[in-house]
Amino acid sequence: MINFSKKFQASPYKKLWIGIGILILLSPLGIILPELFKSGGAWGEWGAEGLEKITGYIPEGLKKLSGLWKAPIPAYGFSGWKGLFKSSAAYIISGIIGVGLVVLVSILIGKFLARKK
């Protein structure tokens, strides 16, 4: 960890990493604004039940495939964390976890691909 913080202090992109942090903190706007403007989710990204409300049935193949994978943090939220405040907190935590994983995977792949010195 000490190594990491030293690396961060010396990073030429320090300001940009802080920028990513600020974006994570602001990211609940991505759920608050749609709520304010009474917007639904993205078109064509409904779950099986949501689709059933539109079409009146769940297509057979879709029913089988849609349950294939249980994401650990579905839709960037935690079950029971309802309301705009709690769902915003969950969104920020998801953002931190997501960015952490993306950075980790990118660095592993990057190190693997990078030329030695």
Binding site: Y13, W17, P34, S39, P59, G61, L68, G98, V102, G110
Partner: protein, 238 residues
């Protein structure tokens, strides 16, 4: 634009997995030629930006939501091949961790957003901005001179707008052909139940009038910001 599991039948999701894997391998080979260890953090930063910007759902009042992808911006900053990998990483984490986009549809979503959006957005940028040279490294000529003219910005905006709209079109096309490809014995669609006549206008119009413009504005503003704060990053590539 993140297609969930179940909306695409096996021909489509399988076909797009088969398409994206060689693209990843080719892109990795391209990056390998030039990427230095010291540049890896900027690759990670780019992937992180793509992940974060997709959290900002932009609402259409009383309608749906959508978001920018950062694809063209990232391609301009780190080159198209590195951008394909960076945006793919963001999409794959979104899919596995957060169920944003299906596992079976990773090939499709990466093809639409990490490949088509990136490559076409970047190509339009180069065309409009008059960037010459065969390889992405050619944009590095002048070694991060920080030079980005109004013409570059117009090119970046045009690339961003057209790139995301192409991704939207591909998404609409892939969803829309399911009613033709897969029909059950009862005559009902097995996967995405909406025909092209529904999916194309539903997805294309919202991207043409709003999300594409959001993408272009973000791309231009980040470039203007970087021109001031990190001129060394402009026109460098990885």
């Amino acid at each position: 634009m993140h297609i969930p599991d179940g909306y695409l039948g096996p021909y489509t999701y399988g076909g797009l997995w088969a398409a994206i894997v060689p693209i990843w391998i080719y892109a990795s080979g391209k990056i390998k030629e030039t990427l230095k260890a010291s540049q890896v953090p900027f690759l990670a930063l780019s992937a992180a930006f793509s992940f974060v910007i997709m959290l900002f759902n932009v609402p259409i009042p009383g309608g749906t939501t959508g978001h920018a992808t950062g694809a063209t911006l990232i391609a301009i900053l780190i080159g198209p091949w590195a951008a394909i990998i960076a945006v793919s990483i963001a999409l794959i984490i979104q899919s596995f961790m957060f169920g944003d986009g299906g596992i079976t549809a990773i090939g499709a979503n990466c093809f639409n957003i990490a490949f088509a959006d990136v490559l076409v957005g970047y190509g339009i940028y180069r065309l409009v901005a008059g960037v010459r040279g065969q390889s992405p490294q050619a944009t590095r000529r002048g070694g991060g001179s920080g030079v980005i003219s109004t013409r570059h910005l117009i090119g970046a905006g045009a690339g961003a707008y057209i790139g995301i709209n192409l991704a939207a079109f591909l998404t609409a096309f892939e969803l829309g052909i399911q009613t033709v490809l897969h029909v059950g014995t009862d005559g009902r669609p097995l996967y995405s139940p909406f025909p092209l006549a529904v999916t194309i206008p539903a997805i294309m119009i919202e991207h043409a009038v709003l999300f594409g413009i959001v993408e272009a504005v973000i791309t231009i503003f980040v470039l203007i910001y970087l021109r001031k704060s990190h001129p060394d990053l402009i026109g460098r590539g990885l």
